[in-house]
């Protein structure tokens, strides 16, 4: 069996609120492990709007989202949180007095309390909802590309209209046998020079732009793709023989396994008691965008406050029978763990 990490509090999600939960727990001398599906911390701030300024963070007017995350990381540094990236928490179960979390990479964490700061769910590729798509994943359907050489001599269908679609169309034009770009309209959301280059390659017949089409279905055997079926909005169908589909529709979030843990969830949010952020299951708290109560505001500001409420409530579970002395940070300073 793989090693089991032990900690006071396991935090699911390293978005701004998960990070600040580390701070609030740390001030109460509780250790934390944090898990996130993304390869970097920061949740929506990093994944969706890194360069946008936020104007409603107290005392940090106009701060860029990436800078906010950088400052939060600095603020929690003294508490030495262990942050596990690139993996999704897939299981959560209670055995005796402890919670056990398992991740998609096989990591196991034992914790006395759990704070769910999962936002709108784990970030991952925005997959087209085609029936058989998962069957081809790993072999013929790809959401990112590492090595261009892997596609030498192959017939490639690229779906999407953003930078990734355009950049890979340009890059693969030379090595692939055939490149088709499926997009629903003529306009691409990419650097104009790249779009112009792509259109020039199409004029030369090196690649084909299949516009205005959307993916309709995939056909093949086992995990080997044979045909990509595409359709126009008016129902005109085209069948493209292909070895690989590169699907580039950006990121999407999925709550996934969190739905199965017996929590009180409706439409992607978990009901909590706002004064403690306790969920319906003792020892599990929810904070940030995923926590819901009457008149909830999905703001970073509210999430920060929820992190403080949850940490104080979690203290009583992590340290049963021990008094919780309320102290201001000006009195306690930043405790070391």
């Amino acid at each position: 069996m793989s090693e089991v990490h032990t900690t006071d509090v396991a935090i699911i999600g390293a978005g701004p609120i998960g990070l600040f939960s580390v701070f609030q727990c740390g001030m109460l001398k509780m250790s934390c492990h944090v898990i996130d599906a993304l390869p970097a911390t920061g949740g929506q701030c990093t994944a969706l709007y890194p360069e946008k300024p936020l104007f409603d963070i107290p005392a940090a007017p106009g701060i860029n989202a990436v800078d906010l995350i950088e400052r939060l990381e600095k603020q929690i540094e003294p508490f030495k949180p262990v942050i596990h990236l690139n993996q999704q928490v897939t299981e959560l179960e209670k055995i005796d007095e402890h919670w056990y979390l398992s991740t998609s990479s096989g990591l196991k964490i034992q914790a006395k309390a759990v704070i769910i700061a999962a936002g709108t769910g784990a970030f991952g590729p925005n997959k087209p909802p085609l029936d058989s798509i998962e069957q081809f994943e790993g072999n013929s359907v790809h959401y990112m590309v590492q090595k261009r050489e892997d596609f030498r001599g192959q017939r490639i269908v690229i779906a999407g209209g953003g930078d990734s679609a355009v950049d890979w169309a340009l890059s693969l034009a030379d090595v692939a046998a055939e490149v088709y770009v499926i997009h629903r309209r003529d306009r691409f959301r990419a650097i104009p020079e790249s779009v112009a280059q792509m259109k020039a390659l199409a004029d030369e017949g090196k690649i084909e732009l299949v516009i205005p089409y959307q993916l309709a279905s995939l056909e093949g055997e086992g995990d080997k793709l044979k045909t990509v079926v595409v359709k126009t909005l008016d129902g005109d169908e085209r069948r493209i023989e292909a070895d690989h589909l590169l699907s580039f529709f950006g990121l999407a979030t999925k709550l996934g396994p969190i739905n199965d843990w017996g929590l009180d969830i409706l439409n992607g949010v978990i009901k909590v008691e706002p004064s403690t952020c306790a969920t319906n299951i003792e020892g599990i708290f929810a904070v940030g965008d995923i926590a819901d109560y009457p008149h909830k505001l999905k703001l970073i500001l509210s999430g920060f406050s929820e992190a403080a409420q949850a940490a104080h409530a979690a203290y009583l579970i992590v340290n049963p029978g021990q008094a919780l002395n309320f102290e201001h940070s000006t009195t306690s300073g930043v405790p070391t763990l």
Binding site: P128, G161, R185, K254, G268
Partner: protein
């Protein structure tokens, strides 16, 4: 009072009252419609995709370029697809009917 009708993925129809000036996404969320609207209306997620009944599409308002761009990342698009956080409730859309795609 303006009313809006949502048809859920399973075909169930719900007609709700809506306050003029609210976004259709806000109305859907208030009424617990099965819709993620993950980014809270900041035009960053496309999970508030609705299919507007053809008869109402013209009245549903202008589609700005940023909405068109984001629609590129929605699936199952139709000629009357909209991101409903960009649609405002007004007398013009009183009675509008929209279908909600599956939440994915």
């Amino acid at each position: 009072m303006t009313t809006l009708t949502f048809i859920k993925p399973d075909g169930e129809k719900t007609t709700v009252e809506a306050t003029n000036g609210a976004t259709v996404m806000e109305v859907a969320k208030e009424n617990d419609m099965p819709m993620l609207a993950a980014c809270g209306g900041s035009l960053a997620c496309a999970t508030c995709h609705v299919i507007v009944d053809e008869a109402w599409y013209e009245k549903s308002g202008e589609v700005c370029e940023a909405e068109e761009d984001l629609l590129d990342t929605a699936h199952g698009l139709t000629n009357t697809s909209r991101l409903c956080c960009q649609m405002k409730v007004s007398d013009d859309v009183d009675g509008m009917v929209m279908t909600l795609p599956p939440m994915g």
